[in-house]
């Protein structure tokens, strides 16, 4: 006896499958609570795996790059000396700035209020991470996240009770204003997933070169001014396009990061 098409369609198996999927999609309303509970249960193991993974990676990286280590060391020492000279110059400028501000009664610029957090995991499908602080610790959506070297990492996008999801700056949903350090060149930095950044909407006549350092701009008030973003790797300037764009390599390296700082905003 031939089984009709409708009998097949509405067979018990398909109905159960349909109901299960429906139930699964309805969990979207309880996603935050479900994820918070799961992260709480697996937090100790995830922290251990994250830190262990970083150490194992560093160990193998040292072995693979042992030949280049001497060259890297020399280059780093040279750069270090240049930066020390720069620090001395900037310290003098800072003192002068503070003196003038006091004299004009403007008030000193306050440093950020920072909160330390641990990274416990990365989303396998997008550029975002989970940190171990949430609503209970006063974390709110929109808090910028930086590394200990004041390199911009991302922004808090979702907050659960005990954990938060941070969108990295390379996440495709990220778009904010940035500028080239020591130049007037401004543009929009966009995330391109897989730790790639695009510096877009740069004026055609604006100066930009390979090796330029990008920092955050105060425009748009997404991030505080002056946080390090990355280095320009490649510039695209087509005659038919009204703007230039550049590929940027971010300064952060997620493989080396297990602690981050959140900038608390009022």
């Amino acid at each position: 006896m031939e089984v009709s098409y409708w009998n097949k369609l509405f067979s018990k198996k398909f109905v159960i499958l349909f109901l299960v999927l429906l139930g699964l999609f309805s969990l979207n309303f309880f996603q935050r609570e479900l994820k918070n509970t799961l992260y709480k249960i697996s937090e100790p193991i995830q922290k251990f795996l994250w830190q262990g993974g970083g150490e194992i990676f560093s160990f193998f990286r040292a072995i693979l790059k042992s030949k280049d280590l001497e060259k890297e060391l020399e280059a780093t020492q040279l750069r270090n000396q240049e930066l020390l000279a720069e620090i001395t110059r900037l310290k003098a400028l800072k003192e002068e700035n503070e003196f003038l501000r006091e004299a004009l009664e403007i008030g000193l610029k306050e440093e950020f209020e920072l909160t330390l957090a641990n990274v416990i995991s990365k989303d396998p499908f997008e550029d975002s991470i989970i940190i171990d602080l949430g609503l209970k610790e006063g974390i709110l959506k929109g808090f910028p996240v930086i590394t200990s070297q004041k390199v911009l990492l991302g922004v808090v996008e979702e907050v659960y009770d005990d954990f938060s999801k941070v969108f990295l700056i390379s996440n495709r949903a990220m778009s904010f204003s940035a500028r080239v350090q020591d130049r007037e060149t401004k543009g929009v930095l966009k995330g391109n997933e897989n730790f790639e950044l695009i510096f877009d909407l740069i004026q055609r006549e604006a100066e930009i070169e390979k090796g330029d350092i990008l920092v955050t701009s105060v425009l748009g008030s997404v991030f505080p001014e002056g946080l390090l973003i990355g280095e320009v790797k490649e510039i695209e300037k087509l005659d038919i396009e009204p703007f230039q764009r550049a590929k940027v390599e971010p300064f952060f390296d997620l493989k080396k990061i297990d602690k981050v700082f959140l900038i608390r905003r009022p």
Binding site: L24, N28, L49, G53, F57, N194, K255
Partner: protein
């Protein structure tokens, strides 16, 4: 019952490794989707076993450890399992050539689904 509990535990470990350990070992920011690989081998090597529970376990854990619409990863894996079943129905011998062929075909199908969803 014990088999299902064991299966869920294995997928749980794979999900933890995928989210907290493997990100340190990326190649051009890519690393293997362990749960997809596990489900593929489960279906390829044992055609008579139940598909539903492993796919549901794996997809559910992927949904918990990633963002986006909850349930979408499970739905993707269900489609991949159905696609894989369809291909395997035409294969008589399960040898290395067919293993590689079906793996890459189903992987491309899986990645295409993810890419389409990212666009929309």
């Amino acid at each position: 019952m014990l088999k299902n509990f064991f299966l869920f535990f294995i997928f749980y470990i794979l999900a933890l490794l995928e989210s907290s350990f493997l990100p340190h070992f990326t190649l051009i920011a890519l690393f293997p989707d362990l749960i997809f690989i596990a489900i593929f081998f489960l279906i390829f090597l044992d055609s008579k076993s139940d598909r539903f529970l492993p796919v549901f376990f794996g997809g559910f854990l992927l949904d918990l450890y990633s963002g986006g619409i909850f349930g979408l990863k499970t739905f993707n894996l269900l489609l991949v399992a159905t696609f894989l079943d369809f291909i395997l129905a035409f294969i008589r011998k399960r040898n290395l050539f067919w293993l590689i062929f079906t793996f890459f075909t189903s992987f491309l199908f899986y990645e295409s689904l993810l890419l389409l969803q990212k666009r929309f």
